[in-house]
């Protein structure tokens, strides 16, 4: 990995989210925000192992992933502001960023839902012989959900080109993992499916990257998927919203301190010379300022936008002049004309 690029990615995500937190009290962002501050390294490490055309699926906490995968920053801020220039035209919001050209496929605010979608996408790639791979991101809360296990099973059954990434920040909202799972060893659970499962405890961007790069290379060389990684990490802010919550009682500041000391953004920055770092930082700050200005100056979607994009807008099909001549008792009156089950068959 190029250290300068890694630092740029990490720093950029951090600063974008700090700006979101700064703007938030102004009430210009009327949408719940789930910040990734403290968790940037996982997204950056994984996306560095991906290439254009590869696909990621994430969660409502996906600002970091969106940016790491190359999502458009201006469209992101505009989406947070609810503007028509947003990445989803103001119809997604902070929890539903999307950037199709960048391969950032979609997120869900219902925990666990995109895991199966990612598996289906990977199956589709395989079926269409497309040479790409998929990464599926989710939290430690998602692994409580049954759909996760159904997805593991199917992904392994069909050997899809996919990497599961569990961002384990230790909490689902305010509930620690230990209150939801007894004696948990997630990699054991996943490994029992026959899926290679690795736990990465360091939070180190380079270590995560090394592991994921290996898995990505294996998939690209045609080895059967999927792979699974549990990446320990830590959320610095409250579950939703811009504030700290160490006074809430469900976790201690001490617990956070080790993670803060291990801050990947700072550590990566320290690997650069001062001028190099400052160049990165200045560019990022300028980009962010421009993106915020873009969002501020964009318009809200107009009233006509409300009910578009529910269905594809299509031309009305032509008329159809079939007349059923009321074969009401006709289940046995076949004159060689097919019964419905054959009609369905021939429709397939």
């Amino acid at each position: 990995m190029n250290i300068k690029k890694v630092y740029r990615e990490l720093f950029r995500i951090r600063r974008v989210e700090e700006e979101i937190a700064r703007i938030y009290p102004s009430d210009k962002i009327k949408s719940p925000v789930h910040l990734s501050i403290g968790q940037e390294a996982v997204s950056v490490a994984v996306c560095e192992a991906l290439v254009p055309g590869d696909i990621v699926f994430g969660t409502y906490r996906s600002h970091a992933l969106y940016l790491a995968k190359g999502g458009d920053l201006r469209a992101m801020f505009a989406e947070m502001y609810g503007k028509v220039t947003g990445c989803a035209r103001g119809k997604g919001g902070s929890m539903h960023l999307v950037d199709i050209p960048a391969g950032f496929m979609g997120t869900s605010a219902v925990v666990g839902t995109t895991i199966a979608n990612a598996v289906g996408y990977a199956y589709g790639l395989k079926l269409q012989s497309k040479p790409h791979i998929v990464a599926s991101f989710f939290g430690d809360g998602a692994v409580d959900e049954g759909a996760f296990y159904e997805s593991l099973n199917f992904a392994h059954l069909k050997q899809v080109p996919l990497i599961f990434i569990c961002e384990n920040n230790g909490y689902a909202i305010h509930t620690p993992q230990s209150a939801r799972q007894r004696d948990v060893n997630l990699c054991d659970r996943v490994g029992a499916y026959g899926i290679p499962a690795t736990r990465i405890e360091s939070g180190d961007v380079f270590e995560i990257h090394r592991h994921v790069q290996e898995a990505a290379d294996a998939l690209r060389s045609g080895q059967p998927g999927p792979f699974f990684f549990e990446c320990l990490t830590y959320r610095w802010k409250e579950h939703v919203g811009p504030n700290d919550d160490f006074d809430a009682g469900y976790r201690s500041r001490e617990e956070a301190q080790a993670w803060m000391a291990n801050d990947q953004v700072r550590l990566a920055g320290e690997k650069l010379s001062d001028p190099e770092r400052m160049e990165v930082e200045q560019n990022v700050e300028a980009e962010i300022a421009a993106a915020i200005a873009f969002a501020e100056n964009s318009s809200f979607p107009g009233a006509s936008e409300l009910t578009t994009d529910v269905y594809e807008e299509s031309e009305q099909d032509g008329p159809d002049d079939f007349v059923w001549r009321g074969d009401t008792g006709g289940h046995g009156s076949g004159d060689g004309r097919g019964p419905i089950r054959d009609a369905i068959w021939s429709g397939c």
Binding site: A116, V119, D317, W324
Partner: protein, 329 residues
């Protein structure tokens, strides 16, 4: 599937020797195990897989031998499939078809007898179709497959044996067009799915009393061709919707309400029939009472036309008898 290599068909039991009442017979051999496959019992994730595959460029057809099992897939259907185009700001399509079978219980009881398509009519972003003739079964299925939005394709098990003309070449039946299946003047009968057959039979019984019923098959429940129904009701002044489902918050209530919204200037007599307000009982004596049939439909239509002044129920006629249906299946 022959015409479009991106079509994929999957679901529990699509690849076994029973082949979903024959509707998937030979497809594995023809299109291969990658495009046609049975699945683990994982309705939730498999629906998620259909959605993901659709986003990747595939047109999945996901088959369920009973609608009841879709209760396990509601999260993906309601929270994801229905909303993806909108949440993506219109940038992505989600072409997928969910084939779900409903039926008449034959002792299957509580959990294998539900219709529940009103759930899907409720949520913007899904289309719902319930064809009743072989012609529409084929044409609507091809429409659904070509549609770029998720379509719930509701098949009534009893109708699988219904015969009728079907072109051999591919053709589509457009979304949102109802059919008048019997012209009449005195009362409009809207029969949904299998109840279409009962309504047609009822219209023949009603002829005995001199009542001429206009029978309409909505075919598509969403988009719903309310214009055709409203126009008929404007003429007859009376509307009876016969559904294959419970009444409360069902398709009947929806159709009645939409007709009233369209025809505010006329006093219309309305009625609806459907499942009894209880769980489906397996005992034959109760099951008989659970469903509307041609005779009870005729009787109710008669009431509507004659303002409940007299009551009448037709004698059962052999030439209009119910189809034989016998399990297990």
């Amino acid at each position: 599937m022959g015409a479009d290599p991106s079509v994929m068909l999957f679901g529990l039991d699509v690849d076994d020797h029973k082949a979903i009442i024959g509707t998937t017979r030979g497809l594995v051999e023809k299109y291969g195990r990658e495009r046609v496959f049975g699945t683990p019992l994982s309705e939730d994730a498999m629906t998620g897989v259909a959605i993901g595959a659709a986003l990747s460029g595939i047109r999945p057809i996901h088959v369920h031998i009973r609608m009841d099992f879709l209760m396990l897939a509601m999260n993906q259907l309601v929270n994801v499939a229905a909303k993806s185009r909108y949440m993506f700001g219109g940038q992505e399509s989600l072409p997928m078809v969910v084939r779900a079978m409903i039926g008449k219980s034959w002792g299957q009881g509580a959990q294998h007898s539900q219709s529940l398509y009103s759930f899907f009519m409720h949520v913007p972003g899904l289309k719902v179709v319930a064809p009743t003739t072989p012609y529409d079964a084929k044409g609507c299925l091809i429409s659904a497959i070509r549609d770029n939005d998720p379509v719930m394709y509701v098949e009534h098990r009893l109708l699988h044996y219904q015969k009728g003309p079907v072109p051999t070449e591919p053709f589509t039946v457009p979304a949102g067009k109802a059919r008048i299946t019997n012209a009449g003047d005195d009362v409009t009968l809207v029969g949904i799915s299998y109840m279409q057959v009962e309504c047609l039979r009822a219209s023949k019984y009603l002829l005995e009393t001199g009542i001429s019923a206009e029978v309409i098959d909505p075919i598509w429940l969403n988009p719903l061709d309310i214009d055709t129904i409203a126009e008929s009701v404007r003429k007859t002044g009376r509307l009876l919707v016969v559904d294959n489902d419970w009444l409360s918050c069902g398709a009947g209530a929806e159709i009645i309400t939409q007709v009233l919204e369209q025809v505010p200037d006329r006093h219309i007599q309305v009625g609806r029939m459907g499942f009894a307000q209880c769980t489906c009982p397996p005992a034959p004596s109760l099951e008989e009472l659970f469903y509307p049939n041609a005779r009870t439909v005729a009787a109710r239509a008669f009431d509507l036309v004659r303002d409940n002044a007299v009551t009448w129920i037709p004698e059962e006629r052999a030439d209009l008898q119910e189809v034989e249906f016998k399990g297990p299946f």
